[in-house]
Subunit: 247 residues, 2 copies
DNA sequence: CGTTGTCTTGATTACGCTCAACTCAGGTGG
DNA sequence: CCACCTGAGTTGAGCGTAATCAAGACAACG
């Protein structure tokens, strides 16, 4: 994987400018690209956890099964994301991870992260910053799942996905592809598939969201954000400049 | 704050054995102890975020307000915890933090963490491990809040608190003090205060949990864990030995 | 043209919310 | 010492959102 193909470098560049050595370190994380099919599992709960994974292309999600048979999707991963950071402190996987679309992933062992810790304080900070941003995302969804209505949950999720996609893919304008079935949406939003359908109908009647198969159109972004009580401070792109801290 | 008073050292020692230099680094995080009263705020959403805080004694919680007027409590902090890790990548606070009881906190600036990154790879790993464990906790609660019944939520929360308290305070046996009002419990569990009351009555009828004011008794731990569908792999104490990774 | 899976719509049910009245313990002042 | 107040917790009645169950629509595919 060369430097300009690297999603990781692209991702990390958001946080600070990288030296040649740092870029080389990051590129080395992606030296084992593996093709992987939609629907296949990267790993399951209980598997040994000795590696991370960068998602080079395609979408993935992590999820947990409940005893009731329900499923809760925890996170959607987009290209450039690192999968499995949460399990750094554990010897076993806590979550299943499944590909949504075909894609390419690059495995690298936990100890590679320690090399980063050893060799570059700025990269260490960026890894930490990325982890803390992911955490912010999860926290925001916790609030939404715990307290908000189906309509708010749905609006919130769609707006969040819109922002995340725009961050990596500047050319998105009010329309994007969302390769998720209603069952998967239900598992994300903590709703039943039936109610997801109803909620989309409602949002469509209100003119907030139009959906045709897997294509989503959002005529009025602000209105959608308002409907989801979306507070975007947890996704802001004006990242705290990390070099300030080193001073 | 001397070495044997340090909650941080106690906390970090769970993850790896510490050299003298590393202990000194950690002690330096706690050089500014501040007394703080129950009910007072450490900070609020929007405040500048340039510091972390170690909680030396007392309990605290972080929370968010919703437009509806509801509140969601995100995390309960116990002595030894670091507060504010999540905001490392942000310039503003994303959450309010409030003391539950009187306590002592120690502020230290973000850049102190960078010194740790610079000076000790093991400590860096431990910080990372702690962050990833906190994240696992939040994720677990996300699943619970999104999918489980009031009875399960309550049982799950109580069992989790029991385990966390036992981890730091080995002498706990089926009974502990839980200094939370039902309103606060409601804000944690995503329920109304009224329903928290009903749920405790139910658990009490079932003989699973007895509560007298702020004292909680759990006659049968396994039964409570089962009622909360508690899977304790995310709290396991057999921490992945970090030095293995450095090899 | 039938089959399959996904989505939609309708009818019924249930869990937890809201509102309101009541209990109870602790604290305060006469 | 008692009367009163306050705040937390409990209990009851009615309601609403979303779940469940079931039937039907629709598209993709063989």
């Amino acid at each position: 994987m060369s430097e300009d193909q690297s999603c990781i470098i692209h991702h990390f560049s958001h946080y600070c400018s990288l030296t040649k050595e740092e870029k080389a370190l990051l590129v080395s994380l992606e030296e084992n690209p593996t093709d992987i099919k939609a629907g296949s599992l990267l790993w399951e709960v209980g598997d040994p956890a000795k590696e991370f994974c960068t998602l080079h292309s395609g979408w993935a999600y992590s999820y947990r099964h409940l005893e009731s048979g329900d499923r809760q999707i925890l996170e959607i991963y987009l290209p450039g994301d690192i999968i499995g950071l949460r399990e750094f402190a554990f010897s076993q996987r806590l979550e299943n991870v499944c590909m949504i679309t075909d894609g390419v992933v690059c495995h690298f062992p936990h100890k590679r992260l320690l090399e980063i810790f050893r060799q570059s304080v700025p990269l260490t900070s960026v890894v930490f910053a990325i982890a803390s941003r992911h955490q912010a995302l999860v926290t925001e969804r916790l609030v939404t799942l715990a307290r908000r209505s189906a309509r708010q949950k749905t609006a919130h999720f769609l707006y969040e996905m819109y922002l995340r996609l725009r961050q990596t893919n500047g050319d998105i304008d009010r329309q994007f592809r969302l390769p998720l079935s209603q069952e998967q949406l239900a598992d994300i939003l903590g709703l039943s598939p039936v109610h997801v359908s109803r909620t989309f109908s409602l949002l469509s009647e209100e003119g907030l969201v139009f959906r045709d198969r897997h294509n989503v159109t959002i005529p009025d972004l602000k209105a959608l954000a308002a409907a989801g009580e979306f507070d975007d401070c947890y996704l802001h792109d004006d990242v705290r400049p990390l070099f300030d801290l080193s001073a």
